[in-house]
C-alpha cells in the first residue's frame, strides 16, 4: 500500500493565539506538528504493520508512507517529527506565493502533488487546530475524484480487493462506510494513541529525504494561490473583551442551593 499522510505545521494548540494584519500571528507562538495529524501518521504506521509481511514499509516491501505538507520552509521541523515516528519520506510544498492561501488554494496544491503519484490511501487529521475548518479532506476527495471516508474512528483495509471500510463518527452516531481505494480518509483522535518517536527513529529521520517543491515545479500559476487569490477576505479581527469575573462560592453544605438561587436571580428558572 502506498500511503500519503497530509500534515500541517500549526501554532501550538496549548498557546493563546493572536491576529496580525488579517492573518494568524505565527511568529508569536511555537510551531508544532498539528496534534490531530499525529493520529493520521500513527494510523499509517499501524496499517503498514498489519499488512506488510515484514511489518515495515520502505524499499522492496511494496509499502510506503509519504508525508505531504504545504507550508513555509520551517515546516520541515513538523515533517521531521512525522518522519521520526516512522514515515519513509516527505514532500514539502513551499513557495513565498503561497502565503495567505485559503482552503481552496491549499487543496488545489495538495491535490496536484498527490495526483501526480499513485497513492492508494490519503490520510488526514480531521482539522488543523489553527484554521479549524475541517474541509481539506472533502476538498481533496472532490479534486482527486477519490472516495471520501472522513471522521474515521477505525479503519480496515483488504489490500487484495482494494476494499476499505471505516466507522465514521459523526453528529448523529456511528456510520459504517465502505469504498474502493484510492480514498481520502480523515481520522479522529480516538482512533489510536500516537507513539513517541524513539531515539533510533529520531536518528533515522535525519537521513530521510524531504523533497521541497515550488509552485513552478507543480505547474501551478502563482496568481491562483496566496492571499491575493483567496476567495474570502478578512475585513477585521478584534480580541474579544475578557469575561468579567463571576461569583465563586465554596460549598459549605449549601452550594447546590446557592446555585439554584443564582438561576432564579438570572431568571433561568
Amino acid at each position: 500500500m502506498k500511503i500519503a499522510v497530509c500534515v500541517k505545521q500549526v501554532p501550538d494548540s496549548w498557546a493563546e493565539k493572536k491576529m496580525a494584519g488579517g492573518l494568524l500571528d505565527r511568529a508569536s507562538v511555537d510551531a508544532v506538528l498539528n496534534d490531530l495529524d499525529e493520529y493520521a501518521v500513527e494510523e499509517a504506521l499501524r496499517l503498514v504493520e498489519t499488512h506488510s509481511p515484514t511489518g515495515a514499509s520502505g524499499e522492496g516491501s511494496g509499502h510506503s508512507i509519504t508525508i505531504i505538507s504545504m507550508g513555509p520552509d520551517r515546516a520541515t521541523e513538523a515533517i521531521r517529527k512525522a518522519l521520526s515516528m516512522g514515515a519513509d519520506d516527505a514532500i514539502l510544498i513551499s513557495d513565498p506565493a503561497l502565503s495567505g492561501s485559503d482552503a481552496l488554494a491549499t487543496s488545489l496544491v495538495l491535490a496536484a502533488v498527490i495526483g501526480a503519484k499513485d497513492f492508494d490511501l490519503i490520510l488526514c487529521g480531521t482539522e488543523s487546530t489553527d484554521a479549524r475548518m475541517s474541509v481539506i479532506p472533502a476538498m481533496l476527495a472532490q479534486r482527486l475524484g477519490f472516495a471520501q471516508l472522513t471522521f474515521a474512528g477505525s479503519i480496515s483495509v483488504v489490500p487484495e480487493t482494494s476494499q476499505i471500510t471505516i466507522a465514521r463518527m459523526t453528529d448523529v452516531g456511528v456510520e459504517n462506510m465502505k469504498a474502493k481505494l484510492p480514498a481520502v480518509v480523515s481520522v479522529i483522535e480516538k482512533i489510536n494513541e500516537p507513539r513517541y518517536p524513539s531515539f533510533k527513529g529520531i536518528m533515522a529521520s535525519k537521513k530521510k529525504t524531504i523533497e521541497v517543491k515550488t509552485l513552478s515545479d507543480l505547474g501551478i500559476d502563482p496568481a491562483t494561490v496566496g492571499m491575493s487569490a483567496a476567495w474570502s477576505e478578512v475585513k477585521d479581527a478584534q480580541a474579544r473583551p475578557p469575561r468579567a469575573a463571576g461569583v465563586k462560592v465554596v460549598d459549605d453544605g449549601n452550594g447546590g442551593n446557592a446555585l439554584v438561587n443564582f438561576l432564579v436571580e438570572k431568571r433561568v428558572i
Binding site: 493565539k17 459523526t170 452516531g173 479522529i188 462560592v249 447546590g256 432564579v264
Partner: protein, 318 residues
Amino acid sequence: MSQVFILVDHAGGHITKATSELALFGKRIGEVTALIFSNESSPLLEELTTMAVDRAVVIEGINFDSYSAAPVARIVANLISEKSPSAFLVSSTVKGKEVAARAAVLTNSGLITDAIDLTSELVATQSIFGGSTTVHSQVTHGCAIVTLRSNSIEVEATTSNPVVETVVVSVDSLDPSALLDQVISLEATVSGGRPELTEAAIVVSGGRGTNGDFTPVEALADSLGAAVGASRAATDAGWYPHSHQVGQTGKTVSPQLYLACGISGAIQHRAGMQTSKMIIAVNKDAEAPIFDLVDFGVVGDLFAVLPQATAGILSKKS
C-alpha cells in the same frame, strides 16, 4: 432580488432548528430557496411552512443518507451554476461542512465556515481561537458559501407558503465519481429524549470528576430540560458517547447556559463552549482554570452539589 439557497438539514422526518436559523439569515439577503434532499419530503414540507422560505426544491430518487457529501454537493453545484444565487447557506454539521467544501470546489466559490452571524451585505462574523477573537470576513468570488453554527440567531415564529418544485435524479444521471463511498449501516446515538446538544438552550456537561457516574449530571440536565455534554476525558474513558463531546475535537456549543461539572477547563474544552452566554462550574479544585470563565462557580464535590441543586430546581418548578 438576490437569491439565496439554504440546505435543509433533517433527521428522523424533522427539520432541525438550525435550518430555521439559516432561513432567517437568508431572508436578510434576499429570496430564500430551501433545498430538500429526501425521498419522503411531505412531513418536511409541512414543517417548512413555519420557516422563512419562499421556495423549496425537493430532490429525490437517490437515498442520499447512503453516501458521503459527494452526491448532494454535485447536485447543489449544478443548481448554483443554473440559478446563480448570491449565497448558499449550510448549517455547520460534519456533513454540512463537507457539502459546502465540495460545492465551493465545484463552483469556484469562496467558503466561510462556522460563522455566527451574517449581514445583508454578506459580511460573516466568526469567533475564532476558542472564542477569544472575533473576525469579520466576506466571500469575494463566486457564490458566497457560508456555514453557520446553530444557536446564532433567535428563531421567531413565522408562516410561509413556499412554491415547491420537485427534481427527480437517478444514480445513473450522476457522475460516478459522486457515488464512490457508501454507508453500510448506521448506529444512531440515542438521545434519551433530551434536546440536541448544539441546539439546546442549556447544556450540562460532565468530566473526569464524575468518575464515570453521569447520574447526577443527567438528573440536573433533566430538571432543566437541558442536553448532556462531556469532556474528552469522559468520552475517552468510554463514560459517555463521543457524539456528546464538547470542545475542539467535539461539538461547539453556544447555549444560553453552560454548566461544567468536574471539568478542569483545558484550552481544548474551552474552544467548544467559551461563547456560551452564561457559564456555571462545579469543581472540587478552587484553582481549576474553568473558574476564570464563570458567571457563577461552586467550589465543591459535584456528588453533593448537583443533587442538591436538582432537588432545589424541581421544587421551584412544582
